[in-house]
Amino acid sequence: MAEAIAFYVLAACILGFAVLVVTAKNPVHSVVFLVLDFLCVAALYVTLGAEFVAAIQVLVYAGGIVVLYLFVVMLVNVKRPPEAFRAGGRHAMLGLALAGAVLVEAAAIAVWSRLSPAAPASAAQSLPVSGNTEQVGWLLYTSYLVPFEVASMLLLVAMVGAIVLARKES
């Protein structure tokens, strides 16, 4: 019962804020809604028992990435009036149609999958450590060590690239 209430409230918040992100006229407002959206997603992760991912979601997404967005919005936006939201136009109609099509397709899959019985849940993995953080860490440093290192290289490359790109020509 409590789980259902939590899910529906959080789902409503997530979707509501997401709609606001997309529709807000002022990009700064979009960013604020995006933060709130991510915080709700983090709360959803907590209800799913994924505390570590939730904490990372808040720390990296809400506390890092979106701050970057806010910076850029402010730098780009300071002297210009907020871009007016123009929904009209061929592109927009096409986009909405495409989004609708994707939604219908995905919903069809979901309904179909619901009609057919779900695959039996595989047995829980046995890991030598307990606790969500420890287990995630264990997996990251054993089975997924290579992807983990690749991700760290990716971040390094992104860091260098961002500095090179954003640096002023002098």
């Binding site: 002022n26 700064v28 407002h29 604020v32 933060v35 915080l39 505390e51 570590f52 939730a54 904490a55 990372i56 808040v58 720390l59 809400a62 506390g63 890092g64 701050v67 806010l70 910076f71 402010m74 300071v78 606790g131 969500n132 953080t133």
Partner: protein
């Protein structure tokens, strides 16, 4: 029901109220200590020795007109102080003020909750606090606050890295992210982490000064440079929220430092049998005492040092503290593996 709802609710109420009271009296303490450092008396008019000054301040701030500047982004302008206040208060959920006590025939733990990602929770929640500052600067529609908020956010993000790295080396020592677990591991290892992680401790303290925008890193609100910083355009209760958030953050940093490095509620030298008579003093008293030492240090530093310049602050953060923290982390890991 009592266990599940009532006791946590009571704890939340007590902690929130104690925090807010502590914050207001932190302001008074600061004014008094700085006054003594400067051979002044500080507030003396309201109540004996000015002890009721916070009440008067609160009254004043509540009664003041709450001005929204023309052409300000009204919603964001209202949201910003809330966004900086809420994270500052929410962090107290995981801070262990003491061990368990017997009260009304029940075992009551002196913390709201103990979650297994406690330290990550602290770091992530405080990282959200930066939004209040950025949005305040943006929404004021004024140039000085904008400059200040850009300064503040760059500063917060830079020093957060150094702080988080020091926290990782503490976690390496304790093997747990739970705040209570960190204290108990200090008890079982018989030493405060300040003694085996002195570098981390110092980096944490310096980073804490910068995180809370305190002197000598108080650039975002440097009155002499930026006419007051990101809250220049704020007045009344909304200004008070920023003010409270700042001091609440100072108390958070002190509490976290106490928990991680000074053994939380443990008595000094928890492994020395000879000093066991110190155990007479309840744990939460030790906790408050240690936090108080930090608060005093914060104020003392403010009364003594000039302010860094922005580029020097960034240089200190990126070229000194972060490399030091990384080196300390690697060293800790090596020693840990070598001993294991």
């Amino acid at each position: 029901m009592v266990e599940l709802v009532l006791i946590p609710l009571l704890k939340i109420i007590v902690v929130l109220n104690a925090t807010l009271l502590g914050v207001t009296y932190m302001v008074l303490l600061e004014r008094k200590v700085i006054a003594w450092a400067q051979s002044r008396l500080g507030p003396m008019r309201v109540g004996p020795y000015g002890v009721l000054q916070p009440v008067a301040d609160a009254m004043k701030l509540m009664l003041k007109e709450d001005i929204t500047p023309a052409r300000a982004d009204k919603w964001v302008f209202t949201l910003a102080p809330i966004l900086s206040m809420v994270p500052a208060l929410v962090v107290y959920a995981v801070i262990p003020f003491g061990d368990q006590v017997h009260l009304f025939g029940r075992q009551i733990s002196l913390y709201i909750t103990d979650i297994n990602v406690g330290l990550l929770y602290v770091v992530s929640v405080t990282s959200v606090g930066v939004y209040g500052i950025i949005l305040a600067g943006y929404s004021s529609n004024s140039k000085w606050p904008l400059l200040a908020s850009l300064r503040a956010s760059a500063q917060l993000i830079s020093y957060e890295i150094a702080i988080t790295l020091t926290l990782v080396s503490v976690v390496l020592m304790s093997g747990t992210l739970s705040m209570v677990g960190i204290v108990t591991s200090q008890a079982s290892q018989g030493v405060w982490y300040a003694f085996i992680q002195p570098t981390a401790f110092i980096i944490f303290f310096i980073g804490g000064l910068a995180e809370t925008n305190r002197a000598p890193f108080d650039l975002p609100e440097a009155e002499q440079e930026l006419t007051g910083g990101f809250h220049t355009e704020y007045s009344g209760m909304r200004f008070a929220l920023f003010f409270l958030a700042e001091y609440a953050n100072i108390i958070v940093v002190s509490s976290v430092a106490t928990t991680l490095f000074l053994g939380g509620w443990l008595r000094p030298f928890p492994n020395v049998e000879f000093l066991s008579f110190l155990g007479v003093v309840p744990g939460w008293c030790w906790f408050l005492l240690k936090s108080f030492v930090f608060l005093y240090l914060f104020i003392w530093v403010r009364a003594t040092l000039p302010r860094y310049r922005y580029d020097q602050l960034m240089r200190l953060g990126w070229k000194v503290l972060i490399p030091l923290a990384i080196a300390n982390l690697i060293l800790t890991a090596i020693v840990k593996v070598a001993l294991a």
